[in-house]
């Protein structure tokens, strides 16, 4: 009773109508969705600097209040751009796509790095955004350092698709709180990064425990991903850190 022509026309019209509807919705909702991503990024930066009251509602005003400078660095540690005006989200540093820059780094091409400088209760905090790979997909985060670039104030991690309950635990306070007061340089000024140690920091020699945190059990590959991300990202900032310490 239905000819082939009818069936094909029916299917074609249906699909085109559905596609038109979806593209329209995507276009209209994009500004709202991008807004949410911006807020999420700001909240991550603030949380790493231990501005713990940051939430979706107040992230923008708090970000404008605490972040005083946003820098763009080149691989040699030179400052390409300094931005301290408001609104802070218009800074070139804020717009840098880390995924692209770290890809360029891995290909030995020139790349740019963002660095945020916050002023909290009169103390200067340097915040470095991070990006790396977990087990199933990208992981990212921020690490906040004291003004001598040695001691960690706090970290924040996010993930796209790590296993809930195992690798997904990197975003939980229990894991994050381990990082505070750890140091990324030893007493002689050599770079150590922060190691995420399988089996726990207890396995490290006493003197190195200040540079390590406990890995998550059942999530070795995600823990390794965090370890590599910390090392790769912090290492990229060493030239700048050497000049400003």
């Amino acid at each position: 009773m239905y000819t082939n022509r009818y069936i094909f026309t029916y299917a074609a019209v249906l699909v085109i109508v559905a596609a038109a509807l979806l593209s329209l919705a995507a276009m209209l909702l994009k500004p709202f969705q991008e807004r949410n991503l911006t807020i999420e990024k700001m909240r991550g930066i603030l949380t790493s600097a231990q501005v713990t009251q940051a939430n979706a509602g107040n992230a923008i005003p708090l970000f404008n209040k605490y972040i005083v400078k946003e820098l763009v660095l080149d691989p040699k540690g030179n400052v390409l751009n300094t931005y301290s005006k408001s609104p802070k989200e218009d800074a070139p540093a804020f717009k840098i796509d880390l995924k692209k820059e770290y890809y360029n780094k891995s290909q030995n091409k020139p790349y740019k790095l963002p660095l945020y400088i916050a002023d909290k209760d009169g103390k200067t905090i340097y915040i470095i955004p991070m990006r790396g790979t977990g087990l199933w997909g990208p992981i990212w985060g921020n690490i906040a350092l004291t003004s001598d670039f040695k001691t960690v104030i706090g970290v924040f991690f996010g993930d796209a698709s790590e296993t809930p309950g195992l690798g997904g635990e990197i975003t939980k306070p229990k894991f994050l709180n381990q990082f505070a007061k750890k140091t990324i340089f030893d007493d002689n000024g050599n770079f150590t990064s922060i190691k995420v140690v399988k089996g726990g920091v207890i396995k490290l020699p006493e003197a190195q425990r200040i540079h390590g945190v406990d890995a998550l059990s059942g999530a070795t590959l995600t823990s390794n991903g965090v370890n590599d991300m910390l090392h790769n990202v912090l290492e990229s900032y060493l030239p700048y850190i050497k000049n400003h310490r």
Partner: protein, 217 residues
Amino acid sequence: MSTEKTEREAIFSPKNIKLLTGPLNMSNPITVQILGICSALAVTVKMKPAIVMALALMVVTAFSNLVISFLRNGIPPRIRIIVQLVVVATLVILVDQLLKAFVFDVSKQLSVYVGLIITNCIIMGRLEAFAMANKPWPAFLDGIGNGMGYGLILIIVAFFRELLGSGTLLGFQVIPQSLYNAGYVNNGMMILPPMALITIGVIIWVQRYYNRSLIEK
């Protein structure tokens, strides 16, 4: 088509009301039809995602039932499942985009499960069993009813899992600190999916205790 009548039926006739209330108990999609278990296990750790998931599913079942019912006389039977899938997938993506735009936190918690509404058996089941053979308004009510039936179970399960697993309800602490000081601990098992299955099992048991007609012979 048995429900096609010449005289207009009242909008909330007893039969239509039954479409709404039936799925809450006698023909509940989860406990009686055993559909949609997968997401019921996954999003019931906390009340808030459970409520949002229930609303999202209700919107999708209702509107996909409505659309399919409008199209029912023109859909070539040979490609009807594909047509149903296109309609459902379009609606689900719309819901997902709306959640991402307006309730970002919740959309992060629901993550993949919003996308999985597409494959939720309740929707395909209702489209095939009801919307393909009924007028738009009853089909719409059937969708709302089944969405509510699903949501009801989700919220009951989430209530117990959040209360016993985290000691909170909708994020507010309800179990007093003094109880923790006296040695009470949250049951970590409740946070894991297997306990959701057991909770649903208990609900089915209780429901059948009070409603003997549901017991299989």
